[in-house]
């Protein structure tokens, strides 16, 4: 956000903004906190599950009633951060992106598995693997909550339901374990992705490499913002009003940052 822009000379106003500005905003504060709290709850649920389920670990700590209580509450609270995040536009915008599979996502996950993510083709802000993970884990959490509640309040349902719920809860837990380990492994392989989730910002070079279509999308937005600047400058006949121009620049900066001004 160059506030000097408006006060500069007319030639300054038409000078192109540098496209290789080093950092792009990938996640807002809200999104990072939703991720942080959700992942904490998920890890608590997984660790307590392991200590309840695996005999070697159960023998280590015992304390079954405490573990059950912590497990139940961490599980039931899992969707709360995301639900709270729904009040924020940036998170809703990224949810829309995760939900929608475009032409670039077709077969992407398959190619990524066979040749690696680097050779699977250009991806948008989220690649198809990330979209699949988000959808699978969201569905799995819903099922785990439903089956978990059946076991939590056994008097509400019949024995067949409880047996069925235990069956689903146990096996789906293994699948979730595999998914989460995969998710963490992908993060461990990419320090800059972790940096992005920690600080909200990523380098333009990383975005071009890992999420090419998203980087191009942001480039297009910036070019377009410049074009608008130029057009307005010309319309007003070389005399940009410093105050108004500065205000507009600010607005465009924000829009570019959160990339959800659609």
């Amino acid at each position: 956000m160059t506030s000097k822009h408006g006060s500069a000379s007319p030639t300054g106003a038409t000078m192109p903004r540098p496209l290789d500005r080093t950092e792009l905003t990938r996640f807002t504060v809200v999104e990072r906190w939703v991720h942080r709290t959700t992942s904490t709850l998920m890890m608590v649920a997984i660790v307590t599950a392991a200590f309840l389920y695996l005999p070697q670990l159960a023998e280590l700590v015992g304390r079954r009633r405490l573990l059950v209580t912590v497990h139940e509450w961490s599980g039931i609270l899992l969707p709360v951060p995301l639900a709270a995040g729904l009040f924020f536009r940036s998170l809703r915008a990224d949810l829309r992106r995760l939900n929608r599979f475009g032409a670039e996502d077709h077969g992407w996950a398959w190619r990524a598995m066979r040749r690696g993510t680097g050779l699977a083709g250009a991806a948008g802000k989220f690649n198809a693997g990330q979209k699949w993970y988000a959808a699978l884990i969201a569905g799995a959490v819903l099922v785990m909550m439903g089956t978990g509640l059946v076991m939590w309040f056994p008097n509400l349902t019949s024995l067949d339901w409880r047996t069925g719920s235990t069956f689903v809860h146990d096996w789906l837990a293994l699948i979730i374990g595999v998914l989460v380990i995969g998710h963490i492994r992908m993060a461990l392989k990419d320090p800059e992705a972790r940096h992005g989730m920690r600080t909200g910002r990523v380098s333009r070079a990383w975005a071009r490499r890992e999420h090419e279509l998203w980087a191009r999308e942001l480039d297009a937005q910036e070019l377009d913002a410049q074009a608008q600047d130029q057009a307005r400058t010309r319309d007003r006949g070389q005399g940009p009003d410093a105050g108004r121009d500065g205000g507009r620049t600010e607005e465009q900066g924000r829009g570019r940052g959160s990339a959800d001004d659609s």
């Binding site: 992106r97 475009g102 959808a135 969201a138 024995l159 235990t166 069956f167 608008q228």
Partner: protein, 253 residues
């Protein structure tokens, strides 16, 4: 120039839609997983039965024992409400019998082994669903310990306490006199291990396994039933397998 700007503005719109256009596959996957989960709940009881059979076959030939960790993989699950596995050596172990009895007593493990021994081979059924077939327990029948102690007329029930410091259980006197209620120091031909509640545990064969208190250290005869640990959290005091806790498992004894 205006035309160009307008075109770019349109392109920007296109670019933005590029991020959110396409099919809502994510939503479909979420709903699909939820539907699969519901189907699993509906048919899980049957599927578990089939899987139990398969896993039993596989784990009998699995030298690593890893299949035993899979859901329904058979074998015992370790449940303890205490903070660690309590250990009592064979020589330090004591079992006290007191309360409404004529002759309170304290037994060493050697003294228990010197009494008439009984061996039972029956299924173990946990209230959470797992069942271990044909498990052997050896030890002294409760009825023999009670006969030796001489229960007073006002004695109506038994309270069991454990050296994990937390767990407790209960039986009525009539239940305790059955020939399948024992104080066990042997399991599957070997001494009861620490994890299984050794050196001495209760074995209440016809009841869900939470009645079979591990790490047994005290038997007190009381004038009424005092509910045990899990029974204070909603589990049935009368824990007959197949006739309590809303379950219909096949009886174990």
């Amino acid at each position: 120039m205006l035309v160009k700007a307008a075109a770019e503005w349109c392109n920007r719109g296109m670019a933005d839609r590029g991020g959110t256009a396409g099919k809502p596959v994510g939503r479909r996957v979420v709903l699909g997983v939820a539907a699969l989960g519901a189907a699993g709940v509906a048919f899980g009881a049957k599927a578990q039965n089939v899987l139990d059979g398969v896993l039993a076959t596989v784990s009998s030939k699995d030298p690593t024992g890893l299949t035993g960790l899979l859901p329904g993989g058979g074998g015992f699950r370790f449940y303890s409400v205490a903070d660690s596995i309590p250990h009592r050596s064979d020589t330090a172990y004591r079992l006290t019998v007191d309360g409404l009895v004529e002759r309170p007593a304290t037994y060493t493990l050697a003294e228990l082994k010197a009494m008439p021994q009984t061996s039972l081979v029956k299924d173990v059924q946990c209230v959470t669903g797992w069942r271990v077939p044909k498990t052997q327990f050896g030890g002294v029948l409760l009825s023999q310990l009670l006969a030796a102690a001489g229960v007073k007329p006002e004695g109506k029930a038994l309270r069991f306490t454990c050296f994990d410091g937390v767990y407790s259980e209960s039986l009525t006197l009539d239940e305790a006199m059955r020939p399948d209620m024992m104080v066990a120091h042997q399991m599957n031909g070997t001494p009861v291990s620490d994890a299984h509640g050794g050196p001495v545990r209760l074995y209440a064969a016809p009841m869900y396994f939470y009645k079979s208190a591990k790490w047994l250290s005290g038997i007190t005869v009381t004038d009424r039933v005092m509910p045990g640990y899990w029974e204070q959290y909603g589990y049935d005091v009368e824990a007959w397998v197949g006739k309590s806790n809303g379950r219909n498992d096949a009886p174990t004894s």
